[in-house]
Each structure stands twice: as C-alpha cells, then as structure tokens.
C-alpha cells in the first residue's frame, strides 16, 4: 500500500512538471493556434542563463531568477516579433516546421555555448532534501513544483476569465480581424502571450534543472507536456493540468507494476487511445469543421 501511495506521489511530482509545460503550450495555442515545439528549448536557454548568473556571476538566487524570468519573457516576445509575424499565410505544417526550426537553433546554441556535459545548478532548496509523512517520502522540490503548477493554473484561469487582457487574448483567437476592429492591438497581444507562455515554461525548466541539467533535459518534459495539452484539448487550461497529472500518475504506476522500460512511452499510447475516442481531447468542446 505504501508503495502504491509513493508511486502516486512521484507521479504527481512528475505530473506537475508536465502540467507547467502543458500550460505554457496551451496559452500559445489558445491565442494563435500554434503548436509550439520550441517551448522546451525556450525553457532550456532560460535555465542555462539562470545557471550562468548563479555560478559565474555570483548573483543572489532571487536576483538571478528574477533576471532569468525577465529574459524568458523577452525571449518569447522576441520570437513572436521576429519570426512568427513574418511568416506568410502559415498553415499547421508551416507552424510546426517553424517551431521545430526555432527549437533546433536554441538547442544548438545552448550546446555550443555550454557543452553537452551534465551541469549542476545551485538552487536555494536542496533537491534531495525532503520530509516523510506516514512512511511516504515527499521531496521539498517536488512540493514546490506542485505549488507552482497549481498557482499558475489558478492565476492563468482567472486571468483569461476576468482580466481585460485575457479577454482580449480570447477575442484575438476567435476572430482576429473583428478583434482589431474593436480596437484590440492583436500584434501586441501575441507578443504578450508568447512572453507569458515562455515565462511559465521557464519555471518548469528552473524546477528540473537542480536534479538534471544537460542540453536534452527538456525533450521529455516538453513532449509529455505537449501530450497532456493535446489530451486536455489544447485550449483548456484546467484540462491540460488534469491530463498532465493523469499522465504522470499512469506513467508511474505503469513503471512500478508493469514494466519500467516502457514507462516513457505509455503516455503516448494513452493519448493515441484518448484521441481515437475523443478526437479533440478530453475537455474541449467538439471541434466542427466548416465547409
């Protein structure tokens, strides 16, 4: 029984990371319908910047993380401004190719600058420190990740529901021409969206980096987060988070009881099954195509 609960706890821990990545993807998809494959590498470069500020520049942790958050937001806004706005009549395939292109550039840049070997990022919380409740080990870092994921979900949900900017983002997604007519600066909205999304993704990066830091560290979380976002319906914030926790828990239970080798692929089998039953995800209204 203890084993079972422990597996669920570590499932929730990895689910939190997926949830953060999934949220970041959903934010962009909600406004511009771009499946952002570069999300992971945007977080990666922000984490490396944070590490550089912490180690070679000897900054205090709060200052370093604040600056890296600012960097992440600017990076997101810059990518939208410099690349996405320039694309001519982009379709889904074009978007995927462009984001993969950005991903490769950022990945190449990071591994050129910092080398491919494992790095250590100093973090205010010791990643191997934790507490034991009723025989179950809970690491402090995982708790922080969980809090971050739920915090971002709540804030973003309220933001999209009640704030003026959030409503403007929704309007931009539904009909960008009409949004422009009523006075929404859609270009600005897009940049803000990308900035926020990059910031949320970077949080995931910072929380992974203390235990695992190399240029390919974000691939797995990014793909799982993407899978969770797709499973949740790509446009629903709570949907993405719930799906992320589902994937995390299922993955860990599968790894514990069936086979540890196939642990990483079970998420994809899950989403293929889910998509075959509900083609637009668990929590999205059914997508009807107009002729």
């Amino acid at each position: 029984m203890i084993d079972f609960i422990q597996m669920i706890v570590s499932g929730v821990a990895s689910g939190s990371i997926y949830a953060l990545m999934g949220l970041a993807m959903v934010i962009i998809y909600k406004t511009s319908e771009v499946p952002n494959f570069a999300q992971g590498e945007m977080a990666l470069i922000s984490s490396y910047i944070a590490m550089m500020l912490l180690t070679t520049m000897n900054m205090s942790a709060s200052m370093a993380f604040f600056l890296s958050f600012v960097f992440a937001a600017i990076l997101g806004a810059f990518l939208e401004f410099a690349i996405f706005r320039r694309a001519k009549e982009p379709n889904v395939l074009g978007m995927i190719v462009i984001t993969i292109g950005i991903e490769m550039i950022l990945l190449g840049f990071v591994s050129w600058k910092f080398g491919a070997e494992q790095k250590v990022m100093p973090f205010p919380i010791d990643p191997y420190d934790g507490f034991i409740i009723g025989g179950i080990y809970i690491s402090k870092l995982d708790t922080l990740t969980l809090v971050c994921a739920l915090f971002f979900m709540a804030v973003l949900y309220l933001f999209f529901k009640f704030s003026k900017l959030g409503l403007a983002m929704k309007a931009t997604q539904q009909n960008s021409v009409a949004a422009q007519i009523v006075g929404i600066r859609t270009n600005m909205i897009m940049m803000v969206t990308w900035g926020i999304s990059s910031l949320v993704g970077a949080t995931a990066g910072f929380l992974i980096a203390p235990t695992l830091m190399h240029p390919f560290m974000m691939w797995d979380p990014m793909l799982k987060g993407f899978a969770a976002a797709v499973m949740g319906g790509m446009t629903s914030l709570p949907g993405a988070v719930i799906a992320a926790y589902l994937l995390g828990v299922i993955e860990n239970l599968f790894g514990g009881y069936v086979s540890i080798e196939f642990k990483t692929v079970v998420a994809f089998v899950c989403i293929v099954i889910v998509l075959c039953i509900r083609p637009s995800g668990l929590f999205a209204r059914h997508y009807v195509k107009k002729v």
Binding site: I98, G101, S111, W112, G115, E261
Partner: protein
C-alpha cells in the same frame, strides 16, 4: 503557359523530348559516377539515395495527401530491423527480406493511418510522434532484435561486396521507386490524394473513399521508408535503437519542406542538399576560413567541445527561412526563376 489539350498529355511521364534527353543524361551520369569519384563519395551518394527514397515517400504523405507525420524514423527503423532480422534469424534471402520488411512497415503505416481518419493538424502530429518514439523503445526491448546493444547486419550475399556494387543496386532501386511514385501521382489514386489534401469534405462528396485513400497514403509512405531503412542497414553495417531518433523524423520532414511540398524534384533536391550539409557540418572545423574563424570564436566565447552543434543552428535557420520567405521550398524558387526567364527581357 503549359496548355494541356487532352488527358494523355496530363498523364504522360515526360512532357517533351528535351526532358527525355536530360533524364537519360542524368541516369547515364549516375551510372558512370562510381568510375570517376573516390570511395568516400560513393558512400555519400548511397547515403543521399536512401534519404531521397524516404523523402519521396514522405512527400507523398505530407505534400500530396496533406497529412503530417513526425514518426517516419519509426518506419525507417522497422525496415532496417525487419530486413536484418529476416535475413539473420529467419534465413530469408535479401530479395525477399527487403520487400518483406517494407511490407511490415506498410502494415504499421496502415495502422497509423487509422487515427488520421479522425485527427488532423496538431493532433495527428503528436500521435505520429508518439508512434515514432514508441517503436524505437519497443525494438530496444525485444531480445530477438538485439535489444539495446544493437545487431550486426549480415552481408548482402547476392554477389554484392563493395560499396560500388551496392551503389548500382541502390541507384537502380531509387530510380525505379521514383518512377513508380511519379506514375502513381498521375493516376486516379494520386489525384484522389491531392483532392483530399485540398478539401477533404469536397473530395468525399465527389465519391472519393477517404478512409481507403488516407490509410493507403500512410501505407505507401511507410513502404518507401521501410525500403530505405532496409538499405540503410547495409550502409551502416550495425544498427541500434539510438540510430532512429526523433531528430531523424524531424530531418526527414525538413528535407521534404525545404525541397518543396508536393513535388518530386523537391524531395530529391531537398534530400540531397540536407544530406550534403549534414555530412559537411559534421566536420565543420575542417572547412577552410570558416572553420578557423569558428575555432577562434568557440575558444573565446563558446565551448570548443560543442562546436559540432552548429549543424542544429544551420538546419533550424534553413527551416525557418524557407517557411518564412518561400513556403514552397526550393521547388518554389525554381518555378519563379523559370517564370521570370520565360518572358525575359520583357
């Protein structure tokens, strides 16, 4: 411009004697190539030919039928492992093992085509991506396939020993497969693919069986990837699951997109260009001038160990530039140039 007067002009393979001449010239050149270049370049040519087969197959799926696949490394792996295992463990001769493995890949393609009936765009991308990742994991687990350690590829044992003889076999196969593809596109089936790409609901109302054609597009595309995978096994002589990564699927897609969607010449040029770049950039520091400059730059600002990662930056930039400036790829540039010169100097 090109006025078509009847149906036969639309379906004929070569539009004019000039095209026939240049085609024959090119084929002749390809067969004479091994007698003039060194062994390394024969290896390069083999590598390119294999990628051309995959790119042509993927272009049928992405460019003509309008579906997205980020899992072609999976079919490639099935082809490579299938051929090897059928030859080593089942003792099949090469000429049965290769099509056998490719048919297995086509079967998987058919299965993967099923979700494509209900999914599109982003959703299909993640489903195919998941397939590609799953296949390599599963293969890495099966002991019969050599597991994580990989498996040695046997000799081809049909009187082909050197790279040069292998080249003749491969180039014949490539030309045959490409002609087959070109024929296919000009038949009812090819036109059905294009109709589905442009407007699937309209295609369905005209009586095109979408279920059949979508799954068949996946199957044919997977068959080509399977054949190419089988040949790839003989080029690298030793295969392991780590050879067939997500990055490989991305590169295949990049070849198709860079070359030009929905064009045979596009897949050929795209595959050739990206393969040559890939091989060149692996030894980037040996390139005159640029290499020395990069060495200095890396030592001062970056890390010298990570310098080979510049190839990611180059590939990424090419993909973005093509998509932003010329969505039709190299083929689009060619079309524009041709149009420009047609009426020159007016």
């Amino acid at each position: 411009m090109d006025m078509k007067k009847n149906y036969f002009e639309d379906v004929q393979l070569f539009t004019s004697p000039v095209v026939v001449f240049w085609f024959a010239f090119l084929i002749g050149g390809l067969y004479l190539l091994p007698f003039v270049v060194s062994n390394y370049y024969i290896y390069v040519a083999n590598y390119i030919a294999i990628n051309i087969i995959v790119a042509a197959g993927l272009n049928l799926l992405v460019g003509y039928a309008g579906q997205i696949s980020l899992g072609h490394a999976g079919f490639f792996a099935i082809g490579a492992y299938g051929t090897t295992v059928l030859m080593v463990k089942a003792g099949w001769p090469f000429f049965f093992a290769l099509p056998g493995a490719a048919l297995v890949a086509a079967g998987f393609g058919f299965i993967l085509g099923m979700p494509s009936l209900r999914l599109e765009g982003t959703y299909l991308a993640i489903a195919t991506l998941g397939f590609g990742l799953t296949i390599t994991k599963v293969i890495g687990r099966i002991e019969l396939f050599g597991g994580r350690d990989g498996i040695h590829v046997p000799d081809i044992s049909i009187g082909i020993d050197t790279d040069k003889e292998f080249y003749f076999l491969l180039i014949t196969m490539t030309i045959f497969l490409l002609l087959l593809m070109r024929n296919l596109i000009k038949t009812r089936m090819g036109r059905a693919f294009i109709a589905i790409r442009d407007a699937d609901i309209a295609a369905e109302t005209m009586g095109i069986n979408i279920v059949f054609y979508k799954t068949v597009a996946f199957a044919i595309s997977a068959f080509y990837a399977g054949i190419a995978g089988g040949m790839y096994a003989f080029v690298i002589k030793f295969i392991e699951p780590e050879n067939f990564t997500l990055l490989m699927s991305i590169l295949f897609l990049a070849m198709v997109v860079v070359g030009g969607l929905g064009s045979m010449m596009g897949s050929i040029t795209g595959a050739t260009l990206l393969c040559l770049l890939d091989l060149k950039l692996r030894k980037i520091l040996d390139i005159p001038y640029i290499g020395e400059w990069l060495r200095g730059l890396s030592e001062n600002w970056f890390s010298i160990t990570g310098v080979s990662n510049i190839q990611y930056i180059v590939f990424g930039s090419i993909m973005i530039c093509i998509m932003v400036f010329e969505p039709l790829g190299i083929y689009g540039i060619w079309i524009r140039t041709k149009k420009y010169w047609r009426t020159w100097p007016f």
